[in-house]
């Protein structure tokens, strides 16, 4: 079995990561009734003997002793990370897995002084929380300063894996730390671990984002994602927000009657380790955590059609840069009865393609599919997959050379509280509007050179970085445009090889 390491960067990354670890523990606890450290657990957790001094050796077999997350927590301020360390999940992390501004050891990097100046400066001018939400600072300053530290900790984490398959970066595109340091780490992973997959979960800023410079941060970060990620799972908070509201409405309207099991909601934290009060982002972050759990379920648990993580990019990324996957999770809620009538099972498949279940504001049905994956969990068989693919196919547009562009997997272990679930991943041109909107917002600032000087003050940040980043984004949008243009056209198959008889 393989292992994965989660790298959570910035406030958003760490808050989402926190929900992920909580739900991952809950999921394994539900499956692993005997308390034995098994292969499935080993994919995200180490089992550490805490009785001996220090770090303690890994235990590979036998009883669960102390589970440690295969994670690296990075933030430039201590707040969020400290909160995690004081919360119910504290035992899952140890101090060696953290990098925060003050915990960093060799603070004698000359950039430090300058950085603090900028930090104050930006804070004053923009009136935003410290440290500055400038990707430049996250990327160039902290990155350089902590490179050794980050690499060392990554290596340590990697050493505990016997077959490290994938890094999952979780970050926001709007924040300075998340976008800057997040993509800095992405580059670093490519240098240090070229064989290991890099999956990035990126929370894109909304139009009314509180971080004024978020368009700069996002566009600068997009260039790195374009070039260095194997797969990106874009998320928009507005979509998460709508989904959360929808679930609340469904429950409050009483339409579902008393059959709803509250702890089976994708947004629910019921039954988890949490004791402190729910935070505003928690319900939304649970959705992202579920996305990651479902994405990795078939690699962790058995099933009649497994899907290893390396199959995701193989099947869904036809061209290296087109690696943005729009995801949707269904069902959002489940009813208490376990024997699902096939009508409701089919509804789960229909919903996965509807606009209001997507984790970004996008409509895959009216755009062009390059490829589509259906990752199913629970009591679902190959005939259910076939029936639904046949049923849905006529309403979807696939690119001419990939008319049967479906990847499917069947994992026999359902999510906690559900009898079945579906994660759909679409490589679809419907991501384009998100990118175009980002570009527009970037251009509005950039034309006026607004706030630009905060970035340019940072060593190694030049205006060229901005023009390169925006042209990288424009190129990407153009690639999607070209694909879209092929949509309406007449299909002519290329003529086959001729064999001399």
């Amino acid at each position: 079995m393989t292992q994965s390491v989660v790298v959570q960067v910035g406030q958003c990354g760490n808050q989402v990561g926190c929900r992920f670890w909580d739900l991952a523990l809950r999921e394994h606890a539900a499956v692993n009734k005997k308390g034995i450290y098994d292969e499935a657990l080993s994919s995200f957790f180490r089992n550490v003997d805490t009785r001996s001094a220090g770090d303690g050796p890994d235990i590979y077999k036998g009883k669960i002793c102390s589970l440690k997350a295969r994670a690296l927590l990075i933030d430039m301020e201590e707040g969020v990370v400290n909160e995690i360390l004081q919360g119910p999940l504290r035992d899952v992390f140890d101090s060696k897995q953290l990098i925060t501004d003050v915990s960093g050891s060799g603070n004698n990097c000359p950039v430090q002084a300058e950085n603090q100046l900028i930090s104050k400066y930006v804070e004053g001018i923009l009136g935003i929380a410290s440290p500055p939400s400038s990707r430049a600072v996250g990327y160039k300053v902290y990155g350089c300063q902590y490179r050794e530290n980050i690499v060392e900790k990554l290596r340590k984490t990697a050493e505990h894996c016997d077959c490290l398959q994938c890094f999952f970066i979780i970050h926001s595109m709007g924040g300075g730390t998340g976008s800057g340091l997040g993509t800095f780490v992405l580059n670093l992973l490519e240098d240090e671990f070229p064989e290991v997959y890099r999956f990035v979960t990126s929370v894109y800023p909304s139009g009314e984002d509180d971080v004024i410079t978020s368009p700069y941060n996002s566009v600068l970060a997009m260039k790195e994602l374009n070039e260095h990620a194997d797969c990106v799972l874009p998320i928009e908070n507005e979509s998460l927000f709508d989904i959360v509201n929808k679930i609340h409405q469904m429950i409050n309207s009483g339409k579902l009657g008393s059959t709803v099991k509250p702890n089976s909601l994708v947004t629910s934290s019921a039954g988890t380790a949490k004791t402190v009060q729910e935070k505003p982002f928690d319900a939304m972050n649970n959705i992202i955590a579920n996305l990651l759990l479902n994405l990795t379920s078939s690699a962790r648990f058995e099933g009649s059609l497994n899907m290893d993580l390396n199959e995701i990019s193989m099947n869904l990324v036809p061209f290296p840069r087109l690696h943005y996957l729009v995801s949707s999770l269904t069902p959002l809620y489940t009813l208490a009865d376990v024997n699902i009538p096939s009508r409701r099972l089919d509804q789960m498949f229909s919903d996965a393609f509807s606009r209001d279940h997507q984790l970004i504001r996008a409509d895959p049905k009216h755009s062009l599919y390059l490829a589509c994956a259906l990752l199913v969990r629970g009591n679902v068989q190959v005939s259910d997959l076939r029936r639904n693919i046949e049923r849905l196919k006529p309403s979807l547009h696939f690119i001419s050379w990939n008319q049967e562009g479906w990847k499917t997997s069947l994992c026999s272990v359902p999510p906690v509280g559900h009898s079945h679930s579906l994660l759909a991943l679409a490589n679809n041109t419907c991501v384009k509007p998100t990118f175009m909107e980002l570009k527009d917002r970037f251009m509005k600032l950039y034309k006026k050179k607004a706030h630009l000087h905060h970035y340019l003050q940072v060593d190694g940040m030049e205006q060229g970085c901005f023009s390169e980043a925006i042209s990288s984004l424009s190129d990407l949008i153009e690639e999607y445009n070209e694909l879209d243009a092929s949509k309406g056209g007449l299909r002519t198959d290329p003529s086959r090889l001729k064999i001399a008889v």
Partner: protein
């Protein structure tokens, strides 16, 4: 003589397990409906073929299990052990930590060379357990990365290491609407490579078996296990012991050799399809009776009309009249659907099979003209009933059965190839565009050969 099975990848291991299960269930069953002596001979021949005897008395499958990820093999081993009637050798399996990621190039160029020695050692150990080796039966899908890529590599290694043994590759053809997006690439690479080193490819199409599960077996929610049980039943009906015409009263000693001799007269033609009759849910069997002429009439029409099962056969299709050439015939339409054969093998199991008239399968108009019709048809028989069916007939056919599916796969792969989509995933592991072109050329040649029968 014995057959060593090599199960590769998730599909290969899941199907392989079901095959041994079916075979074991069949010999253990009390449904043989034949003399005690016959039954014992059948039992002994079957054991020699597929099982070695462990000290514990539980038969041990002559199989090597290979996958690049651990989950499937550990599950397969434990389910087999739980049956109590047979098991796999504890030592005879090999897995790594991560699968080939549906990438043929990864299986063929990376996992293959890296693990060649271990795998071939396991095979060698299995071979040493056999008094006499008939050959190898590899089981794999062609859509994933391990069964297809590593499977093609291992087949080549088997060919090199055992030049005089027979190799039959059992290949699962993917669902048309896909479980794997790059399945057509992987299939093209697999088929073209197997064509170089295998003696014959025995193909099962998932779509076809799925339909059989729905229409004949009346299964509502069809699982891979259901599909695999039908496949295993069909394979068992071919590979369980039977008397060849030559061997007379003894069970055929060299099952793979006999099969190749009967069905593969020319190395350009090695795609074998399989049909069987009857096929129905177990609880309907008790209420059904069959007559041999009825079964064979259906089976023959399934052959000439290329019907995948006994339901929905097109009875209009007829063989061309002798002497009439296709272009001058007034019924071209019917002829277009006519399935021309190179060679056929019919296997009859059960009551009264000696009285059966197989003349209709010897009809020269069923066959391509360049082969002597006498050599083109063979029949194997046994009075021992198979798997609870009082009478059953199977047909293994080297014919145009697979022409259309093959043409489809090559066509779709070619479309994708023209856009260069996904190619970078293969070049990463050393499979270049030229390699694809070579594979396309090989298969276009095969298509053309079968088309022009």
């Amino acid at each position: 003589m014995s057959i060593v099975a090599v199960q590769l990848g998730q599909c290969g291991n899941q199907v392989g397990h079901e095959v041994f299960n079916t075979i074991c269930g069949d010999v253990r069953g009390t449904h043989g409906l034949c003399s005690k002596k016959e039954n014992e001979a059948y039992h002994d021949a079957c054991t020699e073929r597929f099982f070695s005897e462990a000290e514990s008395g539980v038969p041990v499958a002559r199989a090597v299990l290979v996958d690049m990820e651990p989950k499937v093999i550990s599950q397969t081993l434990s389910i087999a052990a739980r049956s109590g009637h047979w098991k796999y050798d504890d030592q005879s399996h090999f897995c790594q930590k991560q699968g080939s990621g549906n990438n043929w190039a990864n299986g063929y160029s990376v996992h293959g060379p890296r693990n060649k020695e271990v795998i071939m050692n396991l095979v060698q150990k299995e071979v040493e357990k056999c008094d006499r080796l008939s050959g190898f039966f590899t089981i794999m899908s062609m859509a994933g990365g391990t069964g297809s890529g590593l499977g093609a590599f291992v087949t080549q290694c088997l060919r090199d290491a055992f030049p005089t043994s027979f190799i039959l590759n059992h290949v699962i053809w993917p669902y048309g609407t896909g479980e794997v997006i790059v399945q057509n690439y992987n299939s093209v690479l697999t088929l073209s490579h197997l064509y170089q080193s295998s003696d014959a490819l025995l193909v099962h199409e998932n779509d076809v078996i799925h339909k059989i599960c729905a229409q004949l077996m009346h299964i509502k929610q069809i699982s891979f296990r259901d599909v695999n049980q039908v496949i295993a039943h069909q394979l068992g009906s071919v590979f369980q012991p039977a008397h060849t015409a030559e061997a007379g009263l003894h069970y055929s000693r060299n099952p793979l050799g006999d099969l190749m001799e009967a069905l593969v007269p020319h190395p350009e033609f090695k795609m074998l399809g399989l049909r069987n009759i009857p096929q129905m849910p177990e609880n309907s069997l008790a209420y059904s009776t069959f007559s041999w002429p009825g079964l064979l009439k259906h089976l023959r029409q399934m052959l000439i009309a290329n019907a995948k099962m006994e339901e929905g056969i097109d009875w209009q299709v007829r063989p061309p009249c002798p002497g009439s050439s296709i272009s001058s015939s007034h019924s071209t339409n019917k002829l277009l659907h006519f399935n021309t054969s190179i060679a056929n093998l019919v296997i009859l199991r059960g009551k009264d099979m000696h009285s059966v008239d197989l003349g209709s399968f010897r009809d020269p108009s069923l066959y391509t003209s360049w082969l002597n019709p006498q050599d083109a048809f063979n029949a194997w028989k046994t009075p021992r009933a198979f798997n609870k069916y009082e009478k059953s007939a199977s047909l293994v056919s080297n014919s145009q059965f697979l022409l259309k599916p093959l043409d489809n796969v090559v066509g779709k792969a070619w479309n994708m190839f023209a856009s260069k989509a996904y190619i970078h995933q293969y070049t990463k592991f050393g499979i270049e565009e030229e390699d694809f072109l070579d594979s396309f050329t090989t298969l276009e040649q095969v298509i053309s050969s079968y088309t022009n029968l």
